[in-house]
Structures are given as structure tokens and as C-alpha cells.
Symmetry: C2
């Protein structure tokens, strides 16, 4: 599919898609056409971009996402890949714990002890 359709399906803007591609989060191929140099995006880009949107909201950086993408590449040792992903999971759990702390703090403030 072309970039417009991909943007439509994912809710991620064309500019942002191009930005992500420049930063190695997704890749595309050149279209079959001989008259243009439009890019062709596969269905997996839809899945990835939707994941990225959620992951960004969860506080993951582009660099985090790139390391995850790299770690799932065929060229990557599966054991290394699992370690990378496990470390991101650990970070996310820490962040979730931090959020719990902040929520507790704010509940206290709201209930008058702040």
C-alpha cells in the first residue's frame, strides 16, 4: 500500500511515518511502477505503527522501539533478542510502579493531606 493508505489505517500522519522510517522503525520497498518512485508498505507496517502509537503513549522512546525492531530481525540472535525485549519489559514494569507511586501521592494530596 502507499503511504496515504497506511496513514489512514493507523492514524499516524504521513510525516510521522516518514520520520519513523528514516529512523529505522519500519521499512518499505520501491513500487513496481516504472513511472514513479512511490514507496510500497506491507501489511506488517500497520501492525507495527499501531504498536508504536501505544508504546509511545506508554513512554517508550524511538530508540527503545528501534532496539526492539532490531532485536526481532532475522539477523539477530534470538537469545539476544529475548534479552533486549525482557529488559524493556522490566523498564515498563518499573515505570508502572512509578506511576502507582505518583497516583498514591496525588490521592493523598487530593484528600487533604497535601
Amino acid at each position: 500500500m502507499r503511504i496515504g493508505e497506511l496513514a489512514e489505517k493507523t492514524g499516524v500522519s504521513r510525516d510521522t511515518i516518514r520520520f519513523y522510517e528514516r529512523n529505522g522503525l519500519i521499512s518499505s520497498s520501491v513500487s513496481d511502477s516504472t513511472t514513479n518512485n512511490y514507496r510500497d508498505y506491507k501489511d506488517d507496517c500497520v501492525v507495527k505503527l499501531k504498536f508504536f502509537a501505544g508504546a509511545r503513549e506508554a513512554g517508550m522512546s524511538i530508540a527503545d522501539l528501534r532496539s526492539i525492531m532490531d532485536s526481532t530481525a532475522d539477523s539477530c540472535d534470538p537469545e539476544v533478542g529475548r534479552r533486549v525485549i525482557q529488559s524493556k519489559i522490566t523498564e515498563l514494569k518499573e515505570r508502572a510502579g512509578q506511576i502507582e507511586n505518583v497516583i498514591r501521592f496525588l490521592e493523598n494530596v487530593k484528600n487533604g493531606s497535601g
Copy 2:
């Protein structure tokens, strides 16, 4: 206390403390001394800065933190303040849910279905 001691106690750098102060997250008074214009920070700054550090890790912005600080000021209607804080709590809970989703996704990837 002076800024160096505050930085020492909180782990927040002097530059960052000054940055936060410029942005209205904390305030200080001028020291008693007539020979310098050093700032004087009260103990509550320690508590606030530690909270800020956790809250930033939890994904809250400076603007979020400022609105919370404003909402706890004496000049603020307590009911308004509670609403502001409640809305931040709600946002944090949504973020926590998003983190759970991402963790589940990554667990799946790690376990081979990705």
C-alpha cells in the same frame, strides 16, 4: 538552604532546579545576607523535587506538574484543585493501562509469536 544543598538532597541538578523554578514549579526567597543575592529554599522544596523526579519518570510533563502545584496553592479553590488532580490521576491510570498492553505485546513477541 542554598541550591547546592537542595541539589545534593534531591539528586536534581542545580541547573534543573533553576529551570524548574523559572517554570514555576518551586519558589525561593532571597537570603537574609546583605552581601549576596543567594536564594533560600525551604524544606518543602526537597519533597517537591523528589515528587517531580518520580512524576517525570511516570511521564508527567512540566506543564502537568505546574498545574498540580497551582491547584494546591492557597489561592486556588479547593474543589477546582481536586478536579485538576483527579484528572491527572485518570490520565496516569490510562497510561498504566497502556503500559500493560505494551507489556503483553512484548511478552508475546518474546515467546515466539512475533
